[in-house]
């Protein structure tokens, strides 16, 4: 304690000593940067597993009569594919990986508010994945990722493992949300007011309360389903007075906000990539920031639009329809602001930028079909068809996953100190973009023609388009393999990045790559938003960050 030196802003240079052992440094680390990378690696491992399941689905659908796997196995495969992609891939990557690594650096903090809680959050996540994929051993859940009763009540024993897995990853998500929220409110550097925060921080700020509140509601639903399956406590079984629709309410009260938990952080990534590679201030800073918050608020009032065909009272359908359509307004504001940022900018076509531009195209497409589906009459027609599958993959793969890939290309140099190969990156992007659209675009049409989702065999008239989709899905998978190869190859052979390869202006790029254990030698002071490319950097106190001067003296660990 005695070594503390108080400087500008009255903040002391206190730092815990850096742990030296391998286990404390890389396995049970409390450093937000290491935890972020742990999330990234674990999330990508699950992406590979869930992606293989997706290819099982595509191979099965090559022929109208199926034949690759049995119908029962097929049900298990798409249920685990969906659950894993949502809970083990997109949410942990969007919040856990990028949130942890990036935003504490961007707000000028030395770590998150509760580093130990952060470590616990992470370590609940791999066991959840093992439980989920392990459920194949007992007979996996087979009622889709939504697990509607009564089917989930009659499902194989693995369905209870599914409940436990999602419960665990939910607790992890709740604790992360709590941690991020306190960090963002309490630990910003001097001068970093809310309206000076980088937009990625605003995105996490809007996401954190959703992960905290909505995920707890899901925990209740999962606990009830688990109790009903294991102890026969009736909540959802209609023969004992329960209600299957109750599950749908409880599930979607979480799962609609979850859609925005999966996309708002991605909006944040895009809002960083666009100004950096257009060399232009972001257009409509405040509008983008506030639209994130308004999307978060609206997301809690629209859950029943998933239930238009479940016997929802007609007087409830109209408000849910209108509220859902309202979400298009803040989302549209963002899209227009991003496009306006590109307008007359000096655009650098790096791989991160390509993925971000691709994101605009595919996400807007998925967003527009979302507005279709919010209209009750259209939803009644399209519900349960491949149109839904197309819509959700356009927002989750074309939106979230492409944003995540953009973010990896953008922050990889900061994480590792080396650049990913740009030429290979361009190939990855084009193969991914073409493969993605070839896979999912025809599904809109098939859905409108009446091809039902979640069925192992289908009407032979749809076979040609399904074969085309499958072939394109192999292209997309190949692109992802290229991406992973690039990540691994660049770790040793990538060009040295230096501290700021992109000429970006947010705080994390003013530090060495990778940053020191303690992030900042001296906590900087902030004077303005980071995006004014014509102005000098709006920070003071960063002079020593890139020099050899020693970092802050370690204080006694608390």
């Amino acid at each position: 304690m005695a070594t503390a030196t108080v400087h500008a802003g009255g903040i002391a240079d206190h730092v815990h000593p850096e742990p030296q052992g391998f286990v404390r440094k890389y396995i049970f680390s409390i450093d937000h940067k290491i935890i972020g990378i742990q999330y990234l690696i674990t999330g990508f491992v699950f992406l590979v597993l869930a992606g293989l399941l997706a290819e099982v689905i595509r191979v099965q659908l090559m022929h109208a009569n199926g034949g690759f796997v049995s119908a029962d196995t097929y049900n298990e495969v798409y249920s685990i594919h969906g659950s894993a992609m949502v809970w083990l891939v997109i949410i942990p990557l969007a919040t856990g990986a990028f949130g942890n690594f990036v935003f504490p650096l961007q707000i000028g903090a030395r770590d998150v508010a509760f580093p130990w809680l952060n470590m616990v959050s992470f370590w609940l996540f791999p066991p959840a994945g093992l439980l989920l994929f392990g459920s194949f051993l007992l007979g996996a859940p087979a009622a889709g990722w939504t697990e509607y009763p009564p089917m989930s009540l009659q499902g194989a024993p693995g369905t209870s493992m599914w409940c436990a897995a999602i419960f665990l990853v939910g607790i992890s998500s709740t604790m992360t949300g709590l941690n991020f929220l306190v960090t963002l409110i309490k630990m910003r550097a001097p001068g970093m007011t809310f309206t000076r925060m980088p937009l990625f921080c605003w995105a996490q700020f809007a996401t954190a309360p959703m992960s905290m509140i909505a995920t707890t509601a899901l925990a209740a639903a999962l606990a009830a389903l688990f109790m009903e399956r294991q102890f026969g406590v009736p909540f959802f079984d209609p023969t004992k007075g329960g209600s299957p629709v109750l599950w749908q309410h409880m599930f979607w009260f979480y799962s609609h906000p979850a859609v925005y938990i999966m996309i708002l952080p991605i909006f944040g990534i895009i809002s960083e990539v666009f100004p950096t590679f257009s060399r232009k201030p972001i257009f409509g800073y405040k509008m983008i920031a506030f639209s994130s918050v308004s999307i978060a608020l609206l997301s809690f009032m629209v859950w029943a639009h998933h239930m238009f065909t479940s016997g929802l009272a007609p007087f409830l359908q109209l408000p849910f329809m209108i509220l859902t359509m309202l979400i298009a307004i803040p989302t549209g504001i963002k899209i227009f602001s991003w496009v306006a940022t590109l307008w007359e900018g000096k655009i650098h076509y790096t791989t991160a930028m390509l993925f971000a531009i691709g994101f605009i195209a595919t996400f807007t497409f998925g967003g527009i079909t979302g507005v279709f589906l919010s209209a009750v009459p259209f939803d009644l027609h399209a519900h349960g068809t491949y149109f839904i599958v197309a819509h959700l993959h356009y927002v989750l793969v074309g939106g979230s996953l492409m944003g995540i890939l953009s973010g990896v290309y953008y922050w990889y140099p900061k994480m590792t100190g080396r650049l990913m190969n740009d030429k290979l990156g361009h190939w990855t992007f084009w193969l991914f973009f073409i493969g993605f659209n070839g896979t999912f675009l025809p599904m809109h049409m098939l859905g409108l023609l009446g091809m039902p989702r979640r069925v192992a065999t289908y009407d032979p008239q749809f076979q040609t388009w399904n074969q085309i989709e499958s072939i394109f899905s192999f292209v997309m998978t190949f692109a992802l393999l290229l991406f992973f190869a690039n990540m691994l190859w660049s770790l040793r052979n990538g060009k040295k990045a230096g501290s700021n390869p992109w000429g970006a202006r947010t705080l994390e790029w003013q530090l060495p790559s990778p940053p020191h254990y303690y992030n900042f030698k001296h906590i900087p002071t902030v004077f303005s938003t980071p995006y004014d490319f014509a102005e000098p950097l709006p920070y003071a106190g960063l002079e020593e960050e890139l020099t050899d001067s020693p970092g802050p003296a370690p204080a006694v660990a608390h």
Binding site: H7, A113, F114, L178, K186, I213, A224, V233, F235
Partner: protein
Amino acid sequence: MAVITVPDGHAHDDGPDQLYVETRELRLQGFLLFLVSDVVLFCSFIFAYLYLRNSGQGWPPAGISRLDVAFAAFNSMVLFGSGCTMHYALENWKHSNFSKYVGCMVATIVLGLMFLGGQGYEYTTLMLKDHVTWGGSGIFGASFFTLTGMHGFHVAVGVIYLSILLLQSVHGTYTKDKYFGLTAGTLYWHFVDVIWVVLFSIFYLI
């Protein structure tokens, strides 16, 4: 290092330490947010209960008699009384009345245990005399035992928590200025009280 003036105010003007060490303020905010997420957990089950109760089967369902309001009201008084003693425990700590503090804490723990005993008595009466059980009495048993059981579990955790706090404060873990654990314990105990107000109203009064 030169002193820098920030044009329009700092993001914080708290004391030193605050960027790395978990200060009282960080912990307080974290703990309050934890309570918020716990409230959401109860709200979800309360929503489920009200949804099932209003699904047109009549309440209480046929063959089940109304709950015993008088006994539950007495038991509620025990719990609310423990809320008062908890409040005085913290006040006495702040004013350095150590012996009164210990007395109030012990009273709170004893009242908490009495509440749990009362709930146990109520459960056994329901199960043995009226044959109302968790899994075997339809949505009535499911919602009543799940929600009150969850609350009872929170009370039990609270009793253990307060006992640990009491031992810690006897050991000298807390001082007159640094006593965040006691604040958190008090907040938690009041939270458990407030949840019970809601549960008592929706199960016994309406």
